[in-house]
């Protein structure tokens, strides 16, 4: 098991014991990734920053439900997803997300496809994938979650997670190759 996973686990145990420093360290390690993930879910909407704060508040309120047997990162990302979905149910906010769909989402570019096009092109192509495929693709290739972890976060089987990520990657490659052909 990697040092990062163990370090986060130790920090979480300290945080459960009442350490504010541990919370700050957890925030420092997780916030950038969780923010990007929320931006991806919210299709680049500015509400991702609000959701990030809400996610950490929920992490705080639910800190007793964390069991040290679990790795912290999938637990926190799973919580972020829950927070996003709960907020999406509020009709007004959901409308805001849809309004902002026209904007180019600022989600990250998986290293595997970086050489196939500019970051902007890759982002456009990812935005063209289905929500399920792009989510599985980014969770695996960008944030490094295993398919088992993705399965737990999304409530699907590991095989489905693998299939979604793989179809997403194939779709992304295809879209980028088409783009290159058009350019040529």
């Amino acid at each position: 098991m990697s040092d990062g996973v163990e370090e986060l686990r130790t920090l979480m145990i300290r945080y459960q014991g009442g350490s504010l420093d541990a919370f700050q360290e957890i925030y420092a390690q997780l916030a950038p990734g969780v923010r990007r993930y929320l931006r991806h879910l919210a299709r680049g909407s500015e509400m991702a920053d609000d959701l990030l704060q809400e996610t950490f508040l929920h992490i705080h309120r639910s800190r007793a439900t964390y069991n040290p047997a679990y790795p912290v990162k999938p637990w926190a990302f799973g919580l972020a997803r829950n927070v996003f979905l709960m907020n999406r149910r509020a009709a007004q906010r959901w409308a805001e997300v849809h309004e902002s769909r026209q904007e180019l989402p600022e989600f990250p570019v998986p290293p595997e496809v970086e050489r196939l096009g500019s970051a902007d092109e890759v982002r456009r192509c990812i935005a063209g994938l289905s929500a399920e495929q792009s989510e599985a693709l980014l969770l695996h290739h960008e944030w490094g979650f295993s398919f088992q972890e993705i399965a737990g976060m999304l409530g699907i089987s590991a095989a489905t997670a693998r299939a979604r990520a793989s179809r997403g990657m194939a779709g992304l490659r295809g879209a980028l190759i088409n783009l290159q052909r058009v350019r040529a």
Binding site: I13, R35, P74, F77
Partner: protein, 226 residues
């Protein structure tokens, strides 16, 4: 631009600092369910003690009397274990597994009802109207199941689930099946319309109760005052 700030905002930090009391990490789903199982067994045993074991238990034999109830109790434990998984972010089970176990539970309850009726077609005490028997069994087992749903809600009040209604329905169904496991041992009526209409409806009612409780808990967590 993506803001990659790694420092928590002041307001968030203040909110966290206000309540930093040490907490005890909750156990994993299976040990947690095993901790709750004795209470479910106690409630189920109380029903049995209050009403007594059905008179036709000799006709049914130990397998159909006790074996079928133990099987239902095991299914109830599986349902609550699944609900505990559903309540843990990043630890959810695939939807197909959840639906498969829910369907299998329904099939087991129906199969046990039919086998019981075929082995001993008892229609209950003649002095009491079938309708009254149905109402007593329906309301009684829903009430007993409701006690367990209340307990599950209290244990899992801090969990954050994506699908609170499904998690709650699983807790409710688990509670309902656990109660049905003991209620069927006490109820003298084995006609399918009574067993499925009153006992079966009670399981469905506790599942609905659990789903509603799940939704209410989730809504409360989302309210700004919390």
């Amino acid at each position: 631009m993506i803001d990659d700030s790694t420092k928590p905002p002041e307001a968030l930090l203040k909110a966290i600092a206000r309540d930093l009391s040490p907490v005890k990490p909750s156990p994993l789903p299976f040990p947690l369910v095993l901790r709750m199982a004795p209470l479910a067994v106690t409630v189920a045993s109380l029903i049995l003690l209050l009403i007594g074991v059905r008179r036709d238990h000799d006709v049914l034999g130990p397998l159909l009397t006790w074996g079928a109830s133990i099987a239902q109790l095991c299914l109830a434990i599986v349902l609550v274990w699944m609900a505990a998984h559903e309540s843990t972010p990043a630890n959810r089970l695939p939807k197909n597994v959840v639906y498969f176990v829910a369907a299998a539970t329904a099939l087991v309850v129906v199969a046990v009802t039919w086998l019981t009726f075929l082995t001993s077609p008892a229609s209950g005490p003649f002095r009491v109207s079938p309708l009254i028997m149905g109402i007593v069994c329906g309301i009684g087992s829903t009430f007993a199941g409701g006690i367990l749903v209340g307990l599950f809600c209290w244990v899992f009040r801090n969990s954050l689930t994506t699908r609170p209604a499904i998690a709650g329905a699983l807790y409710g169904a688990g509670a309902g099946v656990a109660i049905n496991a003991s209620w069927r041992l006490a109820c003298p009526v084995s006609t399918p319309w009574h067993a499925l209409g009153a006992h079966g409806m009670a399981v469905i009612a506790t599942a609905i109760l659990g789903a509603l409780a799940g939704r209410i808990i989730a809504a409360r967590r989302q309210s700004p005052s919390n």
